[in-house]
Protein backbone atom coordinates (compact mmCIF):
# COMPACT_ATOMS: atom_id res chain seq x y z
CA UNK A 1 0.00 0.00 0.00
CA UNK A 2 0.98 3.59 -0.26
CA UNK A 3 3.86 4.44 1.97
CA UNK A 4 3.62 7.93 3.23
CA UNK A 5 4.51 10.11 6.14
CA UNK A 6 1.63 11.26 8.29
CA UNK A 7 1.10 14.89 9.31
CA UNK A 8 0.55 16.41 12.74
CA UNK A 9 -2.26 15.32 15.02
CA UNK A 10 -5.37 17.34 14.15
CA UNK A 11 -7.93 15.56 16.26
CA UNK A 12 -7.43 13.85 19.53
CA UNK A 13 -10.07 11.75 21.24
CA UNK A 14 -9.25 11.22 24.88
CA UNK A 15 -10.98 8.89 27.35
CA UNK A 16 -14.42 9.28 25.83
CA UNK A 17 -17.30 7.53 27.61
CA UNK A 18 -20.87 7.83 26.49
CA UNK A 19 -24.02 6.29 27.92
CA UNK A 20 -27.72 6.48 27.21
CA UNK A 21 -29.43 5.89 30.52
CA UNK A 22 -28.06 2.65 31.83
CA UNK A 23 -26.59 1.62 28.50
CA UNK A 24 -22.89 2.26 28.06
CA UNK A 25 -22.20 2.87 24.41
CA UNK A 26 -18.59 4.01 24.50
CA UNK A 27 -16.17 3.20 27.25
CA UNK A 28 -12.92 5.10 27.67
CA UNK A 29 -12.00 5.45 24.01
CA UNK A 30 -8.80 7.27 23.05
CA UNK A 31 -7.15 7.70 19.68
CA UNK A 32 -5.80 10.46 17.47
CA UNK A 33 -6.16 11.46 13.85
CA UNK A 34 -3.31 12.96 11.88
CA UNK A 35 -3.45 15.48 9.09
CA UNK A 36 -4.11 13.88 5.73
CA UNK A 37 -4.56 10.30 6.85
CA UNK A 38 -7.36 7.87 6.24
CA UNK A 39 -8.32 6.66 9.67
CA UNK A 40 -10.76 3.77 9.95
CA UNK A 41 -13.00 2.71 12.81
CA UNK A 42 -14.10 -0.89 12.58
CA UNK A 43 -15.99 -3.28 14.76
CA UNK A 44 -19.04 -5.53 14.75
CA UNK A 45 -22.58 -4.17 14.75
CA UNK A 46 -23.37 -2.27 17.91
CA UNK A 47 -19.72 -1.66 18.64
CA UNK A 48 -20.34 2.09 18.97
CA UNK A 49 -18.74 3.19 15.72
CA UNK A 50 -21.50 5.56 14.60
CA UNK A 51 -21.79 6.86 18.14
CA UNK A 52 -18.10 7.70 17.99
CA UNK A 53 -18.64 9.77 14.85
CA UNK A 54 -21.60 11.43 16.50
CA UNK A 55 -19.40 12.38 19.42
CA UNK A 56 -16.74 13.79 17.10
CA UNK A 57 -19.14 16.04 15.26
CA UNK A 58 -20.92 17.13 18.41
CA UNK A 59 -24.27 15.41 17.97
CA UNK A 60 -23.78 13.31 21.09
CA UNK A 61 -22.30 14.77 24.22
CA UNK A 62 -20.05 12.31 26.04
CA UNK A 63 -20.32 12.07 29.82
CA UNK A 64 -16.57 11.78 30.18
CA UNK A 65 -13.52 12.63 28.14
CA UNK A 66 -12.54 15.40 25.77
CA UNK A 67 -12.07 16.01 22.09
CA UNK A 68 -9.15 18.18 21.06
CA UNK A 69 -9.46 19.60 17.56
CA UNK A 70 -6.68 21.79 16.19
CA UNK A 71 -5.48 22.55 19.68
CA UNK A 72 -8.89 23.44 20.98
CA UNK A 73 -10.26 21.14 23.66
CA UNK A 74 -13.97 20.72 24.04
CA UNK A 75 -16.39 18.69 26.01
CA UNK A 76 -19.68 19.77 24.45
CA UNK A 77 -20.67 21.88 21.50
CA UNK A 78 -23.62 22.85 19.41
CA UNK A 79 -24.33 20.53 16.50
CA UNK A 80 -23.84 23.10 13.78
CA UNK A 81 -20.44 24.11 15.15
CA UNK A 82 -18.73 21.03 13.73
CA UNK A 83 -19.51 22.12 10.20
CA UNK A 84 -18.16 25.57 10.92
CA UNK A 85 -14.91 23.97 12.10
CA UNK A 86 -14.55 22.07 8.86
CA UNK A 87 -15.91 18.69 9.87
CA UNK A 88 -18.31 17.19 7.33
CA UNK A 89 -19.88 13.77 7.28
CA UNK A 90 -22.08 11.24 5.57
CA UNK A 91 -24.56 8.99 7.31
CA UNK A 92 -25.08 5.29 7.71
CA UNK A 93 -28.76 5.62 6.87
CA UNK A 94 -28.76 8.16 4.10
CA UNK A 95 -29.77 11.56 5.40
CA UNK A 96 -30.34 13.45 2.17
CA UNK A 97 -33.02 16.09 1.72
CA UNK A 98 -35.46 13.95 -0.19
CA UNK A 99 -37.61 16.67 -1.66
CA UNK A 100 -34.70 18.48 -3.30
CA UNK A 101 -32.70 17.80 -6.46
CA UNK A 102 -29.15 16.45 -6.49
CA UNK A 103 -27.90 19.89 -7.35
CA UNK A 104 -29.75 21.57 -4.50
CA UNK A 105 -28.65 18.91 -2.05
CA UNK A 106 -25.03 19.49 -2.89
CA UNK A 107 -25.56 23.25 -2.87
CA UNK A 108 -26.77 23.03 0.73
CA UNK A 109 -23.31 21.74 1.57
CA UNK A 110 -22.06 25.21 0.75
CA UNK A 111 -24.50 27.00 3.02
CA UNK A 112 -21.77 28.24 5.35
CA UNK A 113 -19.86 29.82 2.50
CA UNK A 114 -22.72 31.90 1.16
CA UNK A 115 -22.61 35.38 2.55
CA UNK A 116 -25.49 37.28 0.89
CA UNK A 117 -28.22 38.22 3.31
CA UNK A 118 -31.89 37.40 2.91
CA UNK A 119 -32.80 40.69 1.25
CA UNK A 120 -30.13 40.32 -1.41
CA UNK A 121 -31.25 36.77 -2.04
CA UNK A 122 -34.82 37.93 -2.41
CA UNK A 123 -33.81 40.43 -5.05
CA UNK A 124 -31.49 37.87 -6.67
CA UNK A 125 -29.50 40.39 -8.55
CA UNK A 126 -25.92 41.61 -8.50
CA UNK A 127 -23.92 40.20 -5.64
CA UNK A 128 -26.34 37.50 -4.68
CA UNK A 129 -26.65 36.19 -8.20
CA UNK A 130 -22.89 36.32 -8.75
CA UNK A 131 -22.34 34.41 -5.57
CA UNK A 132 -24.94 31.82 -6.48
CA UNK A 133 -23.22 31.27 -9.84
CA UNK A 134 -19.79 30.98 -8.23
CA UNK A 135 -20.99 28.31 -5.89
CA UNK A 136 -22.78 26.58 -8.69
CA UNK A 137 -19.42 26.31 -10.48
CA UNK A 138 -17.86 24.68 -7.42
CA UNK A 139 -20.74 22.29 -7.14
CA UNK A 140 -20.49 21.41 -10.81
CA UNK A 141 -16.84 20.47 -10.21
CA UNK A 142 -17.97 18.09 -7.50
CA UNK A 143 -20.69 16.71 -9.76
CA UNK A 144 -18.08 16.08 -12.44
CA UNK A 145 -15.72 14.53 -9.92
CA UNK A 146 -18.41 12.13 -8.68
CA UNK A 147 -19.67 11.48 -12.21
CA UNK A 148 -23.29 12.28 -11.45
CA UNK A 149 -23.95 14.82 -14.21
CA UNK A 150 -26.94 12.93 -15.51
CA UNK A 151 -28.91 13.12 -12.27
CA UNK A 152 -28.20 16.76 -11.58
CA UNK A 153 -31.83 17.84 -11.61
CA UNK A 154 -33.44 14.67 -10.36
CA UNK A 155 -35.09 14.79 -6.93
CA UNK A 156 -32.89 12.57 -4.78
CA UNK A 157 -35.86 10.63 -3.43
CA UNK A 158 -36.13 8.98 -6.85
CA UNK A 159 -32.48 7.94 -7.08
CA UNK A 160 -31.21 4.40 -6.47
CA UNK A 161 -29.41 3.71 -3.22
CA UNK A 162 -25.88 3.79 -4.60
CA UNK A 163 -26.44 7.12 -6.29
CA UNK A 164 -27.89 8.58 -3.11
CA UNK A 165 -24.71 7.58 -1.28
CA UNK A 166 -22.71 9.43 -3.91
CA UNK A 167 -24.85 12.54 -3.67
CA UNK A 168 -24.43 12.50 0.07
CA UNK A 169 -20.68 12.35 -0.37
CA UNK A 170 -20.99 15.26 -2.76
CA UNK A 171 -22.88 17.29 -0.21
CA UNK A 172 -20.16 16.67 2.38
CA UNK A 173 -17.45 17.55 -0.12
CA UNK A 174 -19.19 20.78 -1.06
CA UNK A 175 -18.31 22.13 2.36
CA UNK A 176 -14.61 21.71 1.45
CA UNK A 177 -14.02 20.04 4.80
CA UNK A 178 -10.73 19.53 6.59
CA UNK A 179 -12.00 16.30 8.05
CA UNK A 180 -14.52 14.07 6.36
CA UNK A 181 -16.43 11.51 8.42
CA UNK A 182 -17.74 8.67 6.29
CA UNK A 183 -20.21 6.33 7.96
CA UNK A 184 -20.30 3.08 5.96
CA UNK A 185 -20.15 4.71 2.53
CA UNK A 186 -20.14 1.30 0.82
CA UNK A 187 -22.81 -0.51 2.75
CA UNK A 188 -25.21 -2.38 0.50
CA UNK A 189 -23.23 -1.74 -2.67
CA UNK A 190 -22.12 -4.23 -5.30
CA UNK A 191 -18.45 -4.76 -6.13
CA UNK A 192 -18.42 -2.30 -8.97
CA UNK A 193 -20.03 0.44 -6.92
CA UNK A 194 -17.63 -0.26 -4.07
CA UNK A 195 -14.70 0.14 -6.41
CA UNK A 196 -16.02 3.49 -7.59
CA UNK A 197 -16.55 4.66 -4.05
CA UNK A 198 -13.09 3.50 -2.96
CA UNK A 199 -11.62 5.45 -5.82
CA UNK A 200 -13.51 8.56 -4.79
CA UNK A 201 -12.31 8.22 -1.20
CA UNK A 202 -8.69 7.87 -2.27
CA UNK A 203 -8.97 10.73 -4.75
CA UNK A 204 -10.50 13.00 -2.17
CA UNK A 205 -7.67 12.18 0.18
CA UNK A 206 -5.03 12.64 -2.48
CA UNK A 207 -6.28 15.56 -4.49
CA UNK A 208 -7.81 17.71 -1.79
CA UNK A 209 -5.65 16.51 1.09
CA UNK A 210 -8.76 15.89 3.15
CA UNK A 211 -8.35 13.91 6.34
CA UNK A 212 -10.84 11.06 6.38
CA UNK A 213 -12.35 9.07 9.22
CA UNK A 214 -14.02 6.01 7.80
CA UNK A 215 -16.40 3.42 9.20
CA UNK A 216 -16.70 0.36 7.04
CA UNK A 217 -17.61 -3.27 7.35
CA UNK A 218 -15.82 -4.58 4.31
CA UNK A 219 -12.47 -5.61 5.76
CA UNK A 220 -10.79 -5.74 2.41
CA UNK A 221 -11.69 -2.16 1.66
CA UNK A 222 -10.67 -0.98 5.11
CA UNK A 223 -7.32 -2.68 5.04
CA UNK A 224 -6.59 -1.40 1.55
CA UNK A 225 -7.54 2.21 2.15
CA UNK A 226 -6.61 2.95 5.72
CA UNK A 227 -3.46 4.37 7.16
CA UNK A 228 -4.45 3.40 10.68
CA UNK A 229 -7.38 1.49 12.17
CA UNK A 230 -9.18 1.64 15.51
CA UNK A 231 -11.15 -1.42 16.55
CA UNK A 232 -14.19 -1.10 18.81
CA UNK A 233 -16.30 -3.84 20.32
CA UNK A 234 -19.26 -3.28 22.62
CA UNK A 235 -18.00 0.20 23.37
CA UNK A 236 -14.54 -0.96 24.26
CA UNK A 237 -11.41 -0.13 22.33
CA UNK A 238 -9.73 -3.41 21.30
CA UNK A 239 -6.85 -2.20 19.21
CA UNK A 240 -5.35 0.77 17.42
CA UNK A 241 -2.64 0.74 14.78
CA UNK A 242 -1.74 0.20 11.11
CA UNK A 243 -3.86 -2.35 9.23
CA UNK A 244 -1.33 -5.15 9.34
CA UNK A 245 -0.83 -4.84 13.05
CA UNK A 246 -4.56 -4.77 13.73
CA UNK A 247 -5.15 -7.74 11.48
CA UNK A 248 -2.93 -9.91 13.57
CA UNK A 249 -4.24 -8.73 16.94
CA UNK A 250 -5.69 -11.69 18.87
CA UNK A 251 -8.46 -9.68 20.58
CA UNK A 252 -9.65 -8.42 17.21
CA UNK A 253 -9.70 -11.87 15.72
CA UNK A 254 -11.70 -13.16 18.67
CA UNK A 255 -14.20 -10.36 18.40
CA UNK A 256 -14.72 -10.95 14.71
CA UNK A 257 -14.87 -14.68 15.02
CA UNK A 258 -17.39 -14.33 17.81
CA UNK A 259 -15.60 -15.75 20.85
CA UNK A 260 -18.05 -15.49 23.70
CA UNK A 261 -17.50 -12.71 26.17
Amino acid sequence: MHERTLGDVVLEVRNISLSFGAMRVLNDISFDVRQGEIRSIIGPNGAGKSSMLNVINGFYHPQEGTITYRGETRHQMKVHKAAEQGIARTFQNIALFKGMTTLDNIMTGRNLKIKSNMLLQAIYWGKAQKEEIEHRKKVEEIIDFLEIQAIRKTPVGRLPYGMQKRVELGRALAAEPDILLLDEPMAGMNVEEKEDMSRFVLDINDEFGTTIILIEHDMGVVMDLSDRVVVLDYGLQLADGPPDEVRSNQAVIDAYLGVSH
Binding site: F59, H80, K98, T108, S116, Q121
Partner: protein, 359 residues
Protein backbone atom coordinates in the same frame (compact mmCIF):
# COMPACT_ATOMS: atom_id res chain seq x y z
CA UNK B 1 -44.48 18.63 -30.19
CA UNK B 2 -44.48 22.33 -29.58
CA UNK B 3 -43.53 22.09 -25.96
CA UNK B 4 -40.00 20.77 -26.26
CA UNK B 5 -36.71 21.72 -24.74
CA UNK B 6 -34.63 19.83 -27.28
CA UNK B 7 -32.51 22.18 -29.27
CA UNK B 8 -32.25 24.65 -26.46
CA UNK B 9 -28.78 24.78 -25.01
CA UNK B 10 -27.61 26.76 -22.09
CA UNK B 11 -24.31 28.50 -22.53
CA UNK B 12 -23.93 29.65 -18.94
CA UNK B 13 -24.98 28.70 -15.44
CA UNK B 14 -26.81 31.95 -15.31
CA UNK B 15 -29.14 30.81 -18.05
CA UNK B 16 -29.51 27.38 -16.55
CA UNK B 17 -30.41 28.95 -13.21
CA UNK B 18 -33.12 31.21 -14.60
CA UNK B 19 -36.53 30.77 -13.02
CA UNK B 20 -37.93 29.31 -16.20
CA UNK B 21 -35.13 27.68 -18.13
CA UNK B 22 -37.42 26.39 -20.87
CA UNK B 23 -38.28 28.88 -23.55
CA UNK B 24 -41.92 27.88 -23.94
CA UNK B 25 -42.41 28.32 -20.20
CA UNK B 26 -41.08 31.82 -20.44
CA UNK B 27 -43.46 32.62 -23.28
CA UNK B 28 -46.30 31.17 -21.30
CA UNK B 29 -45.40 33.31 -18.32
CA UNK B 30 -45.22 36.48 -20.40
CA UNK B 31 -48.53 35.65 -21.97
CA UNK B 32 -50.02 35.04 -18.55
CA UNK B 33 -48.73 38.38 -17.33
CA UNK B 34 -50.14 40.11 -20.38
CA UNK B 35 -53.51 38.52 -19.74
CA UNK B 36 -53.40 39.41 -16.04
CA UNK B 37 -52.33 43.01 -16.52
CA UNK B 38 -54.00 43.93 -19.79
CA UNK B 39 -56.72 41.56 -20.89
CA UNK B 40 -58.48 40.87 -17.60
CA UNK B 41 -58.83 44.51 -16.52
CA UNK B 42 -60.27 45.45 -19.88
CA UNK B 43 -62.78 42.63 -20.30
CA UNK B 44 -63.65 41.34 -16.83
CA UNK B 45 -66.80 42.61 -15.20
CA UNK B 46 -66.79 44.47 -11.95
CA UNK B 47 -68.13 41.34 -10.28
CA UNK B 48 -65.25 39.28 -11.56
CA UNK B 49 -62.61 41.79 -10.58
CA UNK B 50 -63.98 42.78 -7.22
CA UNK B 51 -65.39 39.50 -5.97
CA UNK B 52 -63.31 36.83 -7.54
CA UNK B 53 -59.98 38.12 -8.75
CA UNK B 54 -59.26 40.39 -5.80
CA UNK B 55 -59.85 37.82 -3.03
CA UNK B 56 -58.13 35.24 -5.18
CA UNK B 57 -54.99 37.38 -5.45
CA UNK B 58 -54.91 38.46 -1.83
CA UNK B 59 -55.52 35.00 -0.46
CA UNK B 60 -52.96 33.63 -2.89
CA UNK B 61 -50.45 36.01 -1.32
CA UNK B 62 -51.33 34.72 2.14
CA UNK B 63 -51.11 31.18 0.82
CA UNK B 64 -47.70 32.02 -0.60
CA UNK B 65 -46.66 33.16 2.85
CA UNK B 66 -47.94 30.02 4.51
CA UNK B 67 -46.39 27.89 1.80
CA UNK B 68 -42.98 29.33 2.63
CA UNK B 69 -43.46 28.32 6.23
CA UNK B 70 -45.24 25.00 5.79
CA UNK B 71 -44.41 23.91 2.27
CA UNK B 72 -40.78 24.97 2.17
CA UNK B 73 -39.65 25.11 5.80
CA UNK B 74 -41.92 22.31 6.99
CA UNK B 75 -43.43 24.17 9.94
CA UNK B 76 -47.15 23.48 10.07
CA UNK B 77 -49.01 26.62 11.09
CA UNK B 78 -52.61 27.52 11.80
CA UNK B 79 -51.86 31.09 12.81
CA UNK B 80 -52.25 32.63 9.36
CA UNK B 81 -55.47 34.46 10.21
CA UNK B 82 -53.85 36.01 13.26
CA UNK B 83 -50.93 37.23 11.19
CA UNK B 84 -53.24 38.64 8.54
CA UNK B 85 -55.12 40.47 11.28
CA UNK B 86 -51.84 41.85 12.58
CA UNK B 87 -51.05 43.21 9.14
CA UNK B 88 -54.49 44.75 8.80
CA UNK B 89 -54.46 46.44 12.18
CA UNK B 90 -50.86 47.60 11.83
CA UNK B 91 -51.71 49.15 8.49
CA UNK B 92 -54.75 50.83 10.00
CA UNK B 93 -52.77 52.29 12.90
CA UNK B 94 -50.03 53.50 10.57
CA UNK B 95 -52.42 54.99 8.05
CA UNK B 96 -54.43 56.86 10.66
CA UNK B 97 -51.46 57.99 12.77
CA UNK B 98 -49.39 59.14 9.79
CA UNK B 99 -51.86 60.10 7.09
CA UNK B 100 -49.07 61.41 4.87
CA UNK B 101 -47.51 57.97 4.44
CA UNK B 102 -47.83 56.44 1.01
CA UNK B 103 -49.94 53.29 0.87
CA UNK B 104 -47.01 51.15 -0.27
CA UNK B 105 -45.01 52.32 2.73
CA UNK B 106 -47.94 51.60 5.01
CA UNK B 107 -48.35 48.12 3.62
CA UNK B 108 -44.65 47.29 3.76
CA UNK B 109 -44.33 48.55 7.32
CA UNK B 110 -47.40 46.56 8.29
CA UNK B 111 -45.70 43.53 6.79
CA UNK B 112 -42.54 44.18 8.78
CA UNK B 113 -44.49 44.56 12.02
CA UNK B 114 -46.23 41.28 11.31
CA UNK B 115 -42.86 39.69 10.63
CA UNK B 116 -41.81 40.74 14.13
CA UNK B 117 -44.93 39.19 15.62
CA UNK B 118 -44.32 36.08 13.55
CA UNK B 119 -40.81 35.72 14.93
CA UNK B 120 -42.18 35.92 18.45
CA UNK B 121 -44.71 33.18 17.86
CA UNK B 122 -42.18 31.14 15.89
CA UNK B 123 -39.92 30.59 18.86
CA UNK B 124 -41.80 27.51 20.15
CA UNK B 125 -41.13 25.83 16.79
CA UNK B 126 -37.64 25.08 18.04
CA UNK B 127 -38.99 22.45 20.36
CA UNK B 128 -42.41 21.62 19.00
CA UNK B 129 -42.97 19.83 15.75
CA UNK B 130 -45.65 18.58 13.38
CA UNK B 131 -49.29 18.63 14.42
CA UNK B 132 -48.27 19.70 17.89
CA UNK B 133 -46.84 22.86 16.38
CA UNK B 134 -49.94 23.34 14.23
CA UNK B 135 -52.19 23.28 17.23
CA UNK B 136 -49.75 25.42 19.21
CA UNK B 137 -49.87 28.09 16.50
CA UNK B 138 -53.60 28.24 17.14
CA UNK B 139 -52.59 29.87 20.41
CA UNK B 140 -51.24 32.82 18.44
CA UNK B 141 -54.34 32.83 16.26
CA UNK B 142 -56.74 33.08 19.18
CA UNK B 143 -54.52 35.40 21.18
CA UNK B 144 -54.01 37.93 18.39
CA UNK B 145 -57.68 38.10 17.48
CA UNK B 146 -58.59 38.50 21.13
CA UNK B 147 -56.01 41.24 21.53
CA UNK B 148 -57.25 43.31 18.58
CA UNK B 149 -60.78 42.87 19.78
CA UNK B 150 -60.00 43.75 23.36
CA UNK B 151 -57.83 46.83 23.33
CA UNK B 152 -59.44 49.96 21.96
CA UNK B 153 -56.09 51.42 21.01
CA UNK B 154 -55.87 49.16 17.99
CA UNK B 155 -59.13 50.47 16.58
CA UNK B 156 -58.68 54.10 17.66
CA UNK B 157 -61.36 53.44 20.29
CA UNK B 158 -64.16 52.87 17.82
CA UNK B 159 -67.17 51.62 19.73
CA UNK B 160 -67.54 48.46 17.69
CA UNK B 161 -63.90 47.57 17.22
CA UNK B 162 -64.10 47.78 13.46
CA UNK B 163 -61.34 49.35 11.42
CA UNK B 164 -62.00 51.22 8.25
CA UNK B 165 -59.45 52.10 5.62
CA UNK B 166 -59.00 55.77 4.75
CA UNK B 167 -59.07 56.53 1.01
CA UNK B 168 -55.53 56.38 -0.31
CA UNK B 169 -54.00 56.78 -3.73
CA UNK B 170 -51.20 54.81 -5.33
CA UNK B 171 -50.29 57.91 -7.35
CA UNK B 172 -52.07 61.08 -8.36
CA UNK B 173 -55.80 60.49 -8.37
CA UNK B 174 -55.49 56.76 -8.67
CA UNK B 175 -57.45 55.67 -5.59
CA UNK B 176 -56.85 52.12 -4.46
CA UNK B 177 -58.82 52.19 -1.22
CA UNK B 178 -62.04 53.85 -0.16
CA UNK B 179 -65.32 54.18 -2.02
CA UNK B 180 -63.80 55.97 -5.01
CA UNK B 181 -61.39 53.23 -5.89
CA UNK B 182 -62.56 51.36 -8.95
CA UNK B 183 -62.35 47.57 -9.02
CA UNK B 184 -59.85 47.83 -11.85
CA UNK B 185 -57.58 50.06 -9.77
CA UNK B 186 -57.82 47.75 -6.79
CA UNK B 187 -57.17 44.74 -8.94
CA UNK B 188 -54.14 46.21 -10.65
CA UNK B 189 -52.70 47.42 -7.38
CA UNK B 190 -53.10 44.04 -5.72
CA UNK B 191 -51.86 42.24 -8.81
CA UNK B 192 -48.68 44.33 -8.94
CA UNK B 193 -47.89 43.62 -5.31
CA UNK B 194 -48.70 39.95 -5.58
CA UNK B 195 -46.58 39.48 -8.70
CA UNK B 196 -43.72 41.35 -7.07
CA UNK B 197 -43.82 39.24 -3.92
CA UNK B 198 -44.27 36.03 -5.86
CA UNK B 199 -41.05 36.89 -7.72
CA UNK B 200 -39.30 37.68 -4.47
CA UNK B 201 -40.46 34.42 -2.95
CA UNK B 202 -39.33 32.48 -5.97
CA UNK B 203 -35.91 34.10 -5.66
CA UNK B 204 -35.70 33.24 -2.00
CA UNK B 205 -36.62 29.62 -2.43
CA UNK B 206 -34.07 29.12 -5.19
CA UNK B 207 -31.35 30.77 -3.14
CA UNK B 208 -29.40 29.56 -0.18
CA UNK B 209 -32.08 30.46 2.35
CA UNK B 210 -34.65 28.47 0.40
CA UNK B 211 -32.37 25.44 0.33
CA UNK B 212 -31.83 25.80 4.05
CA UNK B 213 -35.59 25.87 4.61
CA UNK B 214 -36.11 22.76 2.52
CA UNK B 215 -33.22 21.04 4.27
CA UNK B 216 -34.83 21.74 7.63
CA UNK B 217 -38.12 20.45 6.28
CA UNK B 218 -36.72 17.25 4.81
CA UNK B 219 -34.39 16.27 7.64
CA UNK B 220 -33.69 18.75 10.37
CA UNK B 221 -30.92 16.80 12.09
CA UNK B 222 -28.90 16.36 8.93
CA UNK B 223 -29.42 20.03 8.17
CA UNK B 224 -27.99 20.99 11.51
CA UNK B 225 -25.01 18.71 11.08
CA UNK B 226 -24.07 20.32 7.80
CA UNK B 227 -24.04 23.66 9.58
CA UNK B 228 -27.54 25.07 9.20
CA UNK B 229 -28.53 26.82 12.40
CA UNK B 230 -32.07 25.88 13.42
CA UNK B 231 -33.05 29.05 15.26
CA UNK B 232 -32.29 31.66 12.60
CA UNK B 233 -33.44 29.45 9.74
CA UNK B 234 -36.82 28.66 11.26
CA UNK B 235 -37.33 32.19 12.50
CA UNK B 236 -36.49 33.59 9.08
CA UNK B 237 -39.19 31.35 7.65
CA UNK B 238 -41.66 32.58 10.26
CA UNK B 239 -40.62 36.17 9.64
CA UNK B 240 -40.91 36.05 5.87
CA UNK B 241 -44.10 34.03 5.98
CA UNK B 242 -45.75 36.43 8.40
CA UNK B 243 -44.44 39.34 6.35
CA UNK B 244 -46.41 38.11 3.36
CA UNK B 245 -49.44 37.21 5.47
CA UNK B 246 -49.34 40.64 7.06
CA UNK B 247 -49.30 42.30 3.65
CA UNK B 248 -52.15 40.07 2.55
CA UNK B 249 -54.10 41.05 5.66
CA UNK B 250 -53.48 44.74 5.04
CA UNK B 251 -54.60 44.37 1.42
CA UNK B 252 -57.68 42.47 2.53
CA UNK B 253 -58.70 45.17 4.98
CA UNK B 254 -57.73 48.17 2.88
CA UNK B 255 -58.19 47.17 -0.71
CA UNK B 256 -60.71 44.34 -0.66
CA UNK B 257 -63.32 45.04 2.01
CA UNK B 258 -62.46 48.54 3.21
CA UNK B 259 -63.74 47.82 6.72
CA UNK B 260 -63.06 44.74 8.77
CA UNK B 261 -63.62 43.42 12.21
CA UNK B 262 -61.09 41.03 13.76
CA UNK B 263 -63.44 38.11 13.18
CA UNK B 264 -62.77 38.43 9.45
CA UNK B 265 -59.43 36.82 10.29
CA UNK B 266 -60.70 34.14 12.64
CA UNK B 267 -59.52 30.57 12.72
CA UNK B 268 -61.57 29.67 9.66
CA UNK B 269 -59.35 31.97 7.63
CA UNK B 270 -56.30 30.09 8.88
CA UNK B 271 -57.83 26.79 7.88
CA UNK B 272 -58.86 28.20 4.51
CA UNK B 273 -55.30 29.25 3.70
CA UNK B 274 -53.95 25.90 4.86
CA UNK B 275 -56.42 24.10 2.58
CA UNK B 276 -55.20 26.24 -0.28
CA UNK B 277 -51.60 25.19 0.02
CA UNK B 278 -52.38 21.52 0.55
CA UNK B 279 -54.76 21.39 -2.39
CA UNK B 280 -52.50 23.58 -4.49
CA UNK B 281 -49.29 21.82 -3.61
CA UNK B 282 -46.93 22.16 -0.68
CA UNK B 283 -43.63 23.74 -1.52
CA UNK B 284 -44.71 25.30 -4.77
CA UNK B 285 -45.22 28.92 -5.73
CA UNK B 286 -47.62 27.90 -8.44
CA UNK B 287 -49.46 25.76 -5.89
CA UNK B 288 -50.36 28.77 -3.78
CA UNK B 289 -52.10 30.33 -6.77
CA UNK B 290 -53.78 27.15 -7.94
CA UNK B 291 -54.96 26.38 -4.41
CA UNK B 292 -56.31 29.86 -3.93
CA UNK B 293 -58.15 29.63 -7.23
CA UNK B 294 -59.63 26.28 -6.23
CA UNK B 295 -60.81 27.37 -2.81
CA UNK B 296 -62.10 30.80 -3.88
CA UNK B 297 -63.65 29.83 -7.19
CA UNK B 298 -65.11 26.42 -6.56
CA UNK B 299 -67.74 27.39 -3.98
CA UNK B 300 -68.81 30.30 -6.16
CA UNK B 301 -69.12 28.03 -9.15
CA UNK B 302 -71.06 25.47 -7.19
CA UNK B 303 -73.46 28.08 -5.87
CA UNK B 304 -74.05 29.46 -9.33
CA UNK B 305 -74.13 26.19 -11.19
CA UNK B 306 -77.85 25.43 -10.67
CA UNK B 307 -78.75 28.85 -12.09
CA UNK B 308 -76.73 28.18 -15.17
CA UNK B 309 -78.66 25.04 -15.84
CA UNK B 310 -81.87 26.88 -15.22
CA UNK B 311 -82.68 24.91 -12.10
CA UNK B 312 -84.56 26.62 -9.35
CA UNK B 313 -83.29 24.97 -6.21
CA UNK B 314 -83.79 26.58 -2.80
CA UNK B 315 -80.65 28.29 -1.59
CA UNK B 316 -80.28 26.15 1.50
CA UNK B 317 -80.25 22.96 -0.54
CA UNK B 318 -77.69 24.54 -2.87
CA UNK B 319 -75.56 25.42 0.10
CA UNK B 320 -75.73 21.94 1.53
CA UNK B 321 -74.97 20.33 -1.77
CA UNK B 322 -72.17 22.80 -2.30
CA UNK B 323 -70.64 21.60 0.97
CA UNK B 324 -70.94 17.99 -0.09
CA UNK B 325 -69.55 18.52 -3.56
CA UNK B 326 -66.73 20.68 -2.24
CA UNK B 327 -65.77 17.99 0.26
CA UNK B 328 -66.02 15.28 -2.35
CA UNK B 329 -63.87 17.25 -4.80
CA UNK B 330 -61.19 17.77 -2.16
CA UNK B 331 -61.12 14.02 -1.66
CA UNK B 332 -61.17 13.40 -5.39
CA UNK B 333 -58.19 15.65 -6.07
CA UNK B 334 -56.25 14.27 -3.12
CA UNK B 335 -56.75 10.75 -4.35
CA UNK B 336 -55.90 11.66 -7.94
CA UNK B 337 -52.79 13.56 -6.92
CA UNK B 338 -51.94 13.80 -3.23
CA UNK B 339 -49.21 16.32 -3.92
CA UNK B 340 -51.56 18.96 -5.12
CA UNK B 341 -52.64 20.73 -8.25
CA UNK B 342 -49.15 22.07 -8.86
CA UNK B 343 -47.83 18.52 -9.21
CA UNK B 344 -50.68 17.73 -11.55
CA UNK B 345 -49.65 20.71 -13.64
CA UNK B 346 -46.04 19.56 -13.61
CA UNK B 347 -46.96 16.04 -14.66
CA UNK B 348 -49.07 17.43 -17.46
CA UNK B 349 -46.07 19.42 -18.63
CA UNK B 350 -43.82 16.37 -18.51
CA UNK B 351 -46.33 14.42 -20.58
CA UNK B 352 -46.51 17.28 -23.00
CA UNK B 353 -42.75 17.30 -23.38
CA UNK B 354 -42.78 13.71 -24.53
CA UNK B 355 -46.00 13.83 -26.47
CA UNK B 356 -46.91 12.05 -28.68
CA UNK B 357 -44.55 9.36 -27.43
CA UNK B 358 -45.38 7.61 -24.20
CA UNK B 359 -41.76 7.78 -22.94
Amino acid sequence: MIYREAGEFKASYREDMAILPIRQDRWFMWALMAVAFLVIPSIASEYWLGTIMLPFLILALAALGLNVLTGYAGQLSLGTGGFMATGAFAAYKLATAFPELHIIVVILLAGLITAGVGILFGIPSLRIKGFYLAVATLASQFFLIWMFNKFGWFTNYSSSGVISAPPMTAFGDFFVTGPHATPVAKYLFALTLVVFFAMMTKNLVRSNIGREWMAVRDMDIAAEIIGIKMLPTKLKAFAYSSFLCGIAGALWAFVHTGSVEPLAFDVNRSFQILFMIIIGGLGSIMGAFLGSAFIVLLPILLTNAPHLFGLNIPVDIISHIEFMVFGALILFFLIVEPHGLARLWQITKEKLRLWPFPY
